[in-house]
């Protein structure tokens, strides 16, 4: 390898890709050649660095200078000023949202400083397409160690001691799951990585697969050795084509290096991996539905027990873990259970990756120790709520979870405390909502989602969620009655108790949680026919202020229903009967004369 005097890490994660990082990367390569610096300066396209809303972003080492929103036009300046003369390009530095103070160094920005990266250790740091870079970060060291010096029992003991729990949602102790699979009778066993990442609004698994695919491959091979399986499957959702491509590529490279396939490291242990691509069904993230899907069938879940550990893929004992769970494992083997166990809370060890999105300044990926408070995540790492709006709620656990409110901000977040707060950890999606979001509408949104994704096999979920959705829709249209709340709660309770799989059992959660925390908002919709957040269209009225209106007629020309009339140069009026509340007039009015009530 060449010895470079500087490294430029350019984020090639999904966010930055859509902000145009490829053009920046290309420009960097051509400009470095033009300056004859290609042998001195190394440009690396990495996985997601984390700060998606600031993209395209890059970090320049050895100093560790973070540049944001870099355009191809900025590249020459970065090369000539920073890389040749050693002067930072100040206009591209990060600015603290509140004070506007510039922070040049990557590791001094709160968003990064407060993180502890275990699962994401290599994401944003290495080129995921170059196996040597993974190996240089101790990659495949754990596998070598395990295959040459550990018995399967010892591997499982390390995991049990570490306290690692599943990151896919339920938080089941990983070591125990491995032990069940190992002890299940049968000579053919399988290891599966659940990379379906169905929670809409979560993208941590995607970032691991795209930014550090070898960590998952290494961990799955370790799992194969521990439970006695020679074949593994990675089930990736179809919406992640780049992840599939990176994985395929990584599997091929691992084969070439003798870390996958026959006789790994010459130890006699063989393990192989195949990728299976989903086809757009949320329920396939549920483990028994996932098994059916890999078998080539409709992804319908089945009752448990039997659990996959005893009867899984094609009836054989099968270990299923989530991407992030796997990504933790090589580090735990390398650094030991004692090290891992010091991080986190009493019952939730290690870190958790959250996908921070919604109404928050720094959207992106953060990995923090279990037990970090919601306030730290949203206000310190996330930089608070944009446009000086007020924090209203944060949804965790996706469509199966619930919302956290102001009162929960200082709760340390771990598996137990989130359940106690009426939500759940889920896979790590964390959607922040501000005063402009209507909680009734959000509950309706989630129900619409689960209703649409219900596979239809069991009645409580198929019919029950439909009835709940109808009631919620009625409320958002101003046709709700007070007894609807009771009815919703009653339906919710019976669906939770009787649905076949986790999808149905958890579908009512967002409704229950919003009723509990935002009953007043429901009541405003029902009693006063009013949407306090001004979201529910049917409850809104557009009107034109006679003082501000200059009579330009732009609103009338843009009204699709001809609901606005008036004479030029005189105030116009809206016919409420005809108005469909599309909002065109408000968008078009140059004098801000149209208001919404």
């Amino acid at each position: 390898m060449n010895l470079y005097r500087a490294h430029v890490l350019i984020c090639g994660g999904a966010g930055c890709l859509s902000s145009g990082c490829k053009a920046v990367l290309d420009k960097f390569n051509t400009e470095l050649k033009a300056h004859n610096l290609q042998d001195e300066i190394n440009v690396v396209e990495t996985g997601c660095i984390g700060t998606c809303d600031l993209g395209p972003v890059m970090v320049v080492y050895p100093e560790g200078i973070f540049y944001q929103k870099v355009a191809p036009e900025d590249v020459t300046e970065i090369i000539e000023e920073h890389l040749i003369k050693g002067r930072y390009v100040t206009r591209l530095l990060y600015e603290r949202p509140a004070s506007g103070e510039q922070i040049p160094f990557y590791n001094e920005i709160n968003f990064f400083r407060k993180q502890q990266r275990i699962a994401l250790r290599n994401v944003g740091l290495i080129n995921p397409e170059v196996i040597e870079e993974y190996i240089a970060q101790d990659g495949y060291l754990a596998l070598g160690k395990v295959l040459s010096t550990y018995t399967p029992e010892q591997v499982i003991q390390v995991l049990k001691d570490s306290g690692l729990r599943g990151r896919g949602g339920a938080g089941f102790p990983t070591g125990l799951k491995w032990e069940f699979t190992k002890n299940a009778p049968g000579d053919q066993k399988y290891v599966i990585c659940n990379a379906d990442e169905g929670d809409p609004g979560a993208f941590m698994d995607r970032s691991v697969l795209e930014g550090d695919p070898h960590s998952v491959i290494e961990a799955m091979t370790i799992a194969g050795y521990a439970v006695g399986a020679n074949q593994g499957y990675i089930y990736v959702r179809a919406e992640y084509p780049l992840a599939v491509q990176r994985l395929e590529d990584a599997i091929k490279k691992a084969h070439e290096f003798g870390m996958l396939g026959e006789n790994i490291f010459g130890t006699g242990f063989s393990f192989d991996l195949e990728i299976r691509v989903g086809a757009g069904a949320f329920v396939c993230g549920e483990e028994t539905a996932l098994l059916a899907s890999i078998e080539g069938k409709r992804g319908e879940p089945r009752p448990k027990p039997p659990f996959p550990a005893s009867q899984g893929l094609w009836g054989k004992p099968t270990l299923i873990n989530n991407v992030e769970t796997f990504a933790n494992i090589p580090v735990i083997i390398n650094r030991g259970a004692d090290w891992f166990k010091q991080i986190g809370t009493e019952k939730s060890k290690g870190t958790k990756v959250f996908a921070l999105a919604g109404k928050v300044n720094n959207t992106g990926l953060v990995e923090v120790p279990m037990g970090t408070t919601l306030r730290e995540v949203i206000f310190e790492l996330g930089g608070g709520i944009p446009n000086h709006k007020r924090f209203k709620a944060a949804q965790t656990g996706g469509p199966s979870g619930g919302c956290l409110t102001e009162k929960d901000l200082d709760q340390p977040m771990d598996y137990e405390s989130l359940v106690a707060a009426g939500s759940m950890m889920g896979s790590g999606g964390l959607i922040v909502m501000d005063e402009d979001n209507c909680m009734v509408d959000v509950a309706r949104f989630f129900l619409e989602f689960t209703q649409d994704e219900s596979c239809g096999k069991c009645t409580p979920c198929r019919v029950g969620t439909k009835r709940m959705l109808e009631i919620l829709t009625k409320i958002t249209q101003g046709k709700g009655e007070e007894k609807d709340l009771e009815l919703l709660e009653e339906l919710a309770t019976s669906i939770k108790a009787t649905a076949l799989c986790g999808l149905g059992q958890s579908a009512p959660n967002p409704v229950l949680s919003t009723i509990r925390n935002f009953r007043d908002e429901y009541l405003a919709h029902i009693r006063e026919k009013r949407c306090p957040a001004k979201v529910c269209r049917a409850l809104l009225q557009y009107s034109i202020s006679s003082e501000l209106c200059k009579g330009c007629g732009l609103c009338a020309r843009n009204c699709p229903e001809n609901a606005i009339s008036g004479e030029p140069k005189k105030p116009y009026t809206i016919d409420q009967e005809k108005c469909i509340k599309c909002g065109n007039c408000l968008d078009k009015c140059p004098f801000n004369a149209i208001t919404l009530k």
Partner: protein, 163 residues
């Protein structure tokens, strides 16, 4: 529209499909990968293709149809030259994705799930594509557009109209 089978040009496509089927024949769990490939070849999965897959893999047609209709990724209708997918994941929803859908429906004159008469655009809604940090987002084919607002829609459509 579904009579794709018997024009000379598509013979080549069926040949390709045969190759895919042979590759997965006898392998357990091969149906979904074959359907993925078939959709890549034909653009959608008309009845003829499903029959061919069923015969090729020796699986009842009812099972093939059951799988095709279960998964939203598989389409039985041909799609337009450009498929626009608006993300309706949570992050996008709380940042106003519904208004983006509305703006698209107005600009294109079609509803979600439909294709414009000239065969240029199909409008779909998708679940999270993992670019939540840039919500709301939409995709046109493989291209991703983030940080959208309704007023950016006409420009995006114009860009593809010319292609």
């Amino acid at each position: 529209m579904t009579e794709a089978c018997c024009h000379g040009i598509t013979d080549e496509k069926y040949q390709k499909l045969d190759e895919v089927i042979n590759q997965y024949k006898g392998k357990p769990g091969g149906l979904i990968p074959v359907l993925h490939q078939a959709q890549l070849i034909f653009g959608y999965l008309p009845k003829e293709v499903q029959i061919k897959v069923a015969e090729g893999l020796d699986i009842p047609l009812s099972e093939v149809y059951g799988v095709v209709t279960f998964y939203t990724f598989f389409s039985q209708k041909p799609r337009g030259k450009h498929t626009i997918g608006v993300c309706l994941g949570t992050a996008c929803y709380v940042k106003g994705a519904a208004e983006i859908v509305e703006a698209l429906e107005n600009s294109l004159g079609i509803k979600v799930g439909d294709t414009t008469d000239n065969g240029e655009f199909s409008l779909m809604v998708t679940r999270c594509i993992g670019a939540c940090g840039l919500a709301p987002v939409l995709t046109v084919g493989e291209d991703v557009y983030g940080r959208l607002s309704p007023d950016k829609i006409p420009e995006i459509i114009k860009h593809y109209e010319k292609m």
